[in-house]
Symmetry: none
Subunit: 215 residues, 2 copies
Amino acid sequence: MITVGIVEDNTLFREGLERLLADTPGMRCACACGSAEEALHRIPRLQPDVVLMDLHLPNRSGIECTAGLTQQMPNLKVVVLTIYEDTMTLFKALQAGAIGYLLKRAKPEHIVDAIREVRRGGAPMTSEIARKVVAAFHQPIAPRSAAHNLSRREREILDLLARGFANKEIAQHLSLSVETVRVHLRHVYDKLHVRSRTQAVAEFMGLHNNRPPEN
Amino acid sequence: MITVGIVEDNTLFREGLERLLADTPGMRCACACGSAEEALHRIPRLQPDVVLMDLHLPNRSGIECTAGLTQQMPNLKVVVLTIYEDTMTLFKALQAGAIGYLLKRAKPEHIVDAIREVRRGGAPMTSEIARKVVAAFHQPIAPRSAAHNLSRREREILDLLARGFANKEIAQHLSLSVETVRVHLRHVYDKLHVRSRTQAVAEFMGLHNNRPPEN
DNA sequence: CCTAAATTAACCCTTTCGGGTTATCCACGA
DNA sequence: TCGTGGATAACCCGAAAGGGTTAATTTAGG
């Protein structure tokens, strides 16, 4: 018997899911929550095996709800059930601890299959979602040239910048004058087409970590 | 018709795969390579749709072979077929550009299914592998994580900060006073134990990029 | 219900940053 | 050989950032 929690603000859809679970042998609906607050309150007490989580909730987003639940219950398996197909939402949900990601247009039997798949140790998701997840691991084949127009010294200084050092500290680290650091930074700003150290760091980090592309 | 390349040093297994493909309608074996060198030479010329890649090869590893092939042919879909189940090998293969990851103990029909799955836009892998991939995205459940003590508003502002916006711009984006933004930022600095926006961004980025490094 | 935290906002003041400008030294290549 | 570009350094100045302080309102939780 697999116990399942539901978090879904849409009443019709929520009751549809309840009925689906009730009609499925081997599954039981532990609770059906209409809000993130309700979920954060009831689910830790009822300890279901799996949670079906909608992402579009009134106050807090389902992502935060997922994060809250998985932090309290590391063994809880959250399967996201949403209309959002964009990469950003997907990754935030996974980071929040979701273990599966389905679209609401999935057929009922696929949802049931997904719950069983979770129990078998899997991570249910559609083909397209899986492809996106895997693609996030691929190293960018051709690192953009933007950061490569930088000279050695400029890269070195940008690197220290990204570690949060002030110009003064960078100057000390490299045994340079603060003025020189400023000159290098100006060149970096020119080449990266930014106007502030924070923008430069954002740009630099964006190229140096394999995070999902924006949207 | 899907054309498939094979890279596998074990002769028996390689020929077994060849026969499997030959016996499968809609698939054709473009080439069967016994070494990474042979693969790097022949596959770019034959341009198969999919490559089944063993990871245990004589000289270079199949991971390097995968990296070489995917760099030359960005559209090539490499499905790893290996005995290695460890997380490190998995991640390296994915980073090298692999799009699927199967274990050699997979049944022949599953291998055929996986090739079709790739063509349908998916990323074929076993349940356990998928679980590992998804788990890599989970944020380390750091209870002491300073970033989690941040309030909703503070996280929101930090996020805009990390995108390179100035206080003034953040204020406009959120319809707030610059002073309020400054207050929130001060709290952020306190909680992250930093003294400047750049340090805060560095900290934030460090926690919010989902790289699976740790060689 | 009441308190703690969050959110909003303003003031003053010092430090840091970023743009503009100028200048010297050195290495590399046409 | 001369010029280009990198690295070094200094000046002025306005804009932005950051610290200290105070305080109103709202929200959340015990």
